[in-house]
């Protein structure tokens, strides 16, 4: 029996000794040899070396080896960085190695350590007392230590960067500017303004590495490494990403990254805000309206091209229309553009920039339309037209191609277009014809013809004027009424293939959608049917073609009536579609 007992006694002795050993090693290690204690002993030696005057000797004498921390309740910071960075505010520590060196620059003059702490600017794990945990790149901590060049992203929390010395916030300012220039707002919302195709970016800087897809990023998985890589190749970092980034340099990607990191919703007490930040916040709440060109650059250019030439995104299967070209701007009425801005285009990528959503105020939307109009090409003036040479053959060709569908091949008028060759029309003169051609007739299917040269206009006007006078008068002409039922049959025959049998959209846009019904008038539908839409598969049914029949004016009216009244039945019940005015 005693060998059993002896076994237990030996076990007890062995385990007790080993336990004592572990306890002693742990106690000695924790109490005497932790990283910060070793460092502070080294620092004390440096202090002794530098204690050349009375002040220095006092500092040396009073130096104790202890944990140091800066506690700033207002900023929710408990930063123990100063436990190792002991010389951070001692100006004598310029020639010593890290972590003892003084903070570079004059930042601490304005941001005393005991009032601001460290992590409010540098991030990293403040409570930590060793370098690995403090840096927090590969430990469990949401915000690792920012690298030196990224630290300027923290300035935005309390400063208006425009008011800071440009050298200190170079990247931040560059990023902010790039955000506008590259028209990021076309897809991303910031402070309530911008499109909704991408994510809102107001708090993007608060994201942690767990909220970003790191599969294709080499470690360390920091958010900034993700941003830099993502700006260069979004789909390569996030499979299936639809983000479109214009080609940018590494430096630009870095600047944008700094700006992204700066975009954080932080609860900074007012007493910490620089006065200019308060002014900036005031400006945010009372924004000065943007002028048309600013809006276009900030919110439209990414898709519609800076000059309005439209863009093709083959990877997304999306074509942004060339809204600066005459094909669009000549046909689109102000009301159509405004309604599209307001509601966006459902089933298309065009987002809503509605005033209700805080993006563009009504005035700003008007300003944008004005900008589009002002930038659009203009038809030659009457004087220029009259100076140009006339060519009857050209005039006839143009008339038959562009005008005859609505106004009749002899200018006798159709239910869709008023007669041009009547006596009272002749009396109105060439100036009226020129005005109608150059500016269109608002609210009707009559578009602008800005793409015509002076010679073409001259020939067209001359040809029109030379048509034999027809009986009847323009004053008595009335726009024909379309028949929705007749339109339905036509629609099924020639439109449903692309627009869907219910107008739900297939390869072509949805016509029954709320957005379209709200934006388009019967006149717009009619004009589009007659003229087609250049750059898209929508053919011009006003011209004879191999594939499509040439529609008569009545048929066009029927189609317009069906599209607006047959497909848009629900809408009409509450809001009758405005009838086009009787017009030239």
């Amino acid at each position: 029996m005693n060998d059993l007992s002896r076994l237990y006694r030996w076990l007890l002795l062995g385990t007790s000794l080993a336990t004592l050993l572990f306890l002693s090693v742990a106690a000695v290690q924790e109490n005497f040899f932790s990283q910060w204690q070793v460092l502070q002993r080294q620092y004390r030696a440096i202090l002794k070396q530098k204690a050349t005057d009375a002040r220095g000797q006092e500092l040396y004498r009073n130096f104790e080896i202890e944990l140091r921390q800066v506690s700033v309740p207002e900023l929710r910071a408990v930063d123990r960085c100063v436990t190792c960075h002991v010389g951070i505010d001692d100006p004598r520590m310029t020639d010593v190695r890290q972590p003892f060196a003084v903070h570079p620059g004059d930042i601490l003059e304005h941001h005393p350590v005991d009032r601001f702490g460290c992590t409010v600017c540098h991030q990293g794990q403040g409570p930590a007392t060793n370098f690995r945990d403090a840096k927090a790149e590969d430990v469990y901590w949401d915000y690792p230590l920012l690298t030196a060049e990224l630290t300027q992203s923290s300035c935005l929390a309390c400063h208006d960067p425009e008011k800071l010395p440009a050298k200190q916030v170079e990247l931040l300012l560059a990023g902010q500017k790039l955000y506008q220039e590259k028209s990021c707002g076309s897809c991303h919302q910031l402070k309530g303004r911008g499109g909704n195709l991408g994510a809102a970016l107001d708090d993007v800087g608060s994201k942690t590495r767990h909220q970003l897809t790191m599969v294709n990023i080499e470690p360390p998985h920091t958010t900034w490494r993700w941003h830099v890589a993502h700006f260069r190749d979004p789909a390569g970092i996030v499979p299936g990403s639809q983000m479109v980034v214009p080609p940018i340099s590494d430096q630009e990607a870095l600047a944008l990254t700094v700006y992204m990191l700066a975009l954080r919703r932080r609860d900074v007490p007012e007493s910490y805000l620089a006065p200019d930040k308060i002014e900036e916040k005031y400006r945010e709440l009372h924004p000065e309206p943007l002028v048309g060109e600013q809006i276009y650059t900030a919110y439209c250019a990414a898709c519609h091209h800076p000059q309005g030439q439209g863009s093709n995104f083959p990877a997304l299967g999306v074509r942004a229309p060339a809204i600066g070209s005459s094909d669009f701007i000549d046909v689109a009425s102000d009301q159509f553009i405004l309604a599209t801005l307001e509601a966006g285009r459902s089933e298309r990528k065009m987002p809503a920039f509605a005033a209700a959503k805080g993006t563009l105020s009504a005035d700003e939307a008007q300003g944008l339309v004005a900008f589009l109009r002002q930038r659009a090409p203009r038809a030659p003036s009457l004087a220029e037209v009259e100076r140009a040479a006339s060519d009857r053959a050209l005039g006839e060709q143009l008339y038959q191609a562009e005008c005859a569908a609505c106004h009749g091949d002899r200018g006798q008028g159709t239910p869709l277009g008023s007669p041009l060759a009547t006596a009272d029309r002749r009396a109105a003169g060439r100036a009226a014809l020129h005005r109608a051609l150059a500016e269109g007739v608002p609210g009707t299917a009559m578009p602008r013809y800005t793409r015509f040269t002076a010679a073409e206009l001259r020939s067209l006007i001359d040809y029109t004027a030379s048509l034999p006078t027809v009986p009847g008068s323009r004053a008595r002409w009335e726009l024909g009424q379309g028949d929705p039922n007749a339109g339905r049959e036509l629609f099924q025959k020639i439109c449903a293939g692309c627009h869907g049998d219910q107008g739900q959209g297939k390869t072509g846009p949805a016509l029954a959608s709320h957005g379209f019904q709200k934006a388009a008038t019967e006149a717009f539908v009619a004009a589009t049917v007659v003229r087609g839409r250049a750059g898209t598969p929508m053919p011009a049914f006003g011209r004879a073609s191999v594939n499509y029949p040439r529609l008569t004016a009545q048929e066009v009216l029927d189609l317009g009536a069906f599209v607006k009244r047959g497909l848009g039945v629900k809408l009409q019940a509450s809001q009758p579609a405005t009838q086009p005015k009787t017009g030239d």
Binding site: M1, L4, S5, L7, Y8, R9, L11, L12, T15, S16, A18, T19, F22, L23, V25, A26, A27, E30, N31, L67, Q69, V78, R80, P127, A128, T129, D133, Y140, W141, D142, T208, R209, H210, Q211, L212, T213, M214, V215, I217, H221
Partner: protein, 521 residues
């Protein structure tokens, strides 16, 4: 000795005072220890045990079999020892811990970085908790396979089960306290399991009128989300309610061991003792001439009075050496683990960033695997059925025999091996099938949830195990062997599921061969 302690006769009060002062250490020791010296005779050794508050729950003599390390492997003692370590380190942690969602995480960081040896103390607490849970599981297995639950120890088996539940509860409630991501999402899973009766009531469409799931969840969390109320509830349960319940249950558990006649063991052969190689001294001479005082009534079929040599040893000091050795062994293991491996602490709890995968503590991962098929069946029904089944074992298997011997029933060892093999094959097969081919919902997307609730890999596993056990019952004509078959299957199945969920389940509870293949987030 006693004579020296009384002042010499005829001394005055001052002399008496000085005399008493001089002898203070000895008189205090006498008063404190009652015996006052190292026991020298067996009689004094008995008194050392019997007259000590902490030791008197032991019997004065202990059977050699009970002392042999191979019978118990010291598992119950390891569990108790780690509980003692947990109490001590727990109190130390309470000094710095602040149970509020605002401060909890910060106080964890303080403990980790600034409290002297705080990180070490927390590590010990964490590792001891793991050791305790593991020891309790293994202890249960030991008691089962040595048939130690049999009459008269049925009730202590039930207390043991209650202790298992309380131990898991203690560990689980401690999980939330650091208020980090790990804690938050593990408790979210726990709360969802509490909520899982809704799966049934939703399937029946009666949740609006009868919602035990929602009630359970609110009872657990004190709110509809994991927040301050949940933290305080878990804190109170963790530092007060459950430890007190555990201490009471452990006391009863120990007391019943004593009253049920010590650790289970086979009857000693009458007049024998040869099997112990003559190492055991006879304590009672046959036909003893001694008279006995009644010390305590213990259960047993034969009173150990007036019969031949017993295979027992004095508890003092042999049993106490053993107990101390196991205690120090447990301490050493948790110290060594704590020295090299830090307890995890993830980022601060953030409801906006779900952990993926959010995994429960390891001992619940087997259940979480079942929960992934059906929360109600896997999270509540199967554990409940398993617990009830375990509780019924000593009442259904009442034929004596095999107590205190590993696999002591004839034919038990082969049945245990076969059952282990069967349980392993079925569990692995079921998992492989589910991973490769999915389950009902992947084949019939519109199938009613009620069907999945009834027929899922978890419930099928239970049915197959039960079927196997019934087959053994008929084939071997032994309740004990059927119980062995069922218990072994469950043990192996539980282990397989736990391993599988720990290693092979990644984000979205998808199958991966290794965690290194997980998509990084």
């Amino acid at each position: 000795m006693a004579t020296q302690l009384t002042p010499p006769p005829g001394s005055n009060a001052a002399q008496e005072f000085l005399h008493n002062l001089r002898h203070l250490p000895q008189t205090f020791k006498d008063a404190w220890l009652r015996l006052g010296k190292v026991p020298e005779s067996e009689r004094e050794e008995s008194q050392a045990t019997f007259h000590n508050f902490f030791l008197h729950i032991h019997s004065v003599r202990v059977h050699v079999r009970s002392l042999a390390p191979t019978l118990t492997l010291g598992l119950g003692l390891i569990a108790t020892s780690s509980f003692i370590v947990l109490c001590i380190t727990g109190v130390l942690l309470m000094v710095y811990y602040k149970p509020s969602t605002e401060l909890a995480y910060q106080s964890m960081k303080d403990i980790h970085f600034t409290v002297a040896t705080g990180r070490f103390v927390r590590n010990i607490h964490r590792w001891s908790a793991h050791i305790m849970v593991l020891a309790v599981f293994l202890h249960m297995a030991r008691v089962f396979f040595t048939a130690s639950y049999k009459k008269p120890r049925e009730f202590n088996w039930l207390i043991g089960l209650a202790l298992l539940v309380v131990t898991l509860g203690l560990s689980f409630t401690g999980y939330l306290l650091p208020w980090d991501q790990l804690a938050y999402w593990a408790i979210t899973i726990g709360a969802n399991i509490a909520n899982s009766p809704r799966e049934l009531t939703d399937a029946l469409g009666i949740t609006a009128w009868f919602d035990p799931g929602g009630f359970q969840r609110r009872l657990l969390l004190g709110a509809n989300y994991v927040g301050e109320d949940a933290l305080i509830r878990f804190y109170i349960l963790h530092v007060f309610v459950l430890p007190v319940v555990l201490v009471i249950l452990v006391s009863v558990h120990f007391w019943r061991i004593r009253k049920d006649g010590g650790l289970a063991r086979p009857e000693d052969p009458m007049g024998g003792g040869a099997e112990w190689g003559g190492r055991v001294r006879p304590v009672f001479q046959p036909l003893a001439t001694k008279t006995y005082g009644l010390m305590a009534l213990v259960r047993g079929r034969r009173p150990p009075v007036n019969r031949g040599p017993e295979n027992t040893m004095m508890s003092w000091p042999h049993l106490f050496w053993a107990e101390l050795a196991v205690f120090m062994f447990t301490v050493l293991i948790s110290l060594a683990l704590s020295f090299f491996f830090d307890a995890p602490l993830k980022e601060i709890a953030n409801p906006a960033i779900p952990e993926n995968p959010a995994k429960a503590p390891w001992y619940f991962l087997g259940i979480q695997e079942l929960v992934s098929y059906s929360a109600f069946t896997g999270g509540l029904m199967i554990p409940l059925v398993a617990l009830i089944g375990l509780a019924l074992i000593p009442f259904l298997d009442r034929r004596p025999g095999g107590e205190g011997v590993w696999f002591g029933t004839p034919g038990e060892r082969p049945v245990a091996w076969q059952s282990a093999l069967f349980g392993f094959a079925v569990a692995v097969g079921m998992l492989a099938f589910t991973v490769n081919f999915g389950w009902l919902r992947s084949w019939f997307p519109r199938i009613p949830q009620l069907v999945i609730l009834l027929i899922n890999p978890g419930s099928l596993l239970v049915l197959l195990y039960a079927g196997w056990s019934l087959w053994v019952l008929r084939q071997r004509n032994s309740v004990r062997l059927a119980a062995v078959a069922l218990f072994t299957c469950f043990l192996v199945g539980f282990t397989v599921l736990t391993y599988f969920a720990t290693v092979h389940r990644g984000p979205n509870w998808q199958f991966y061969w290794w965690p290194s293949q997980w998509p990084v987030h």
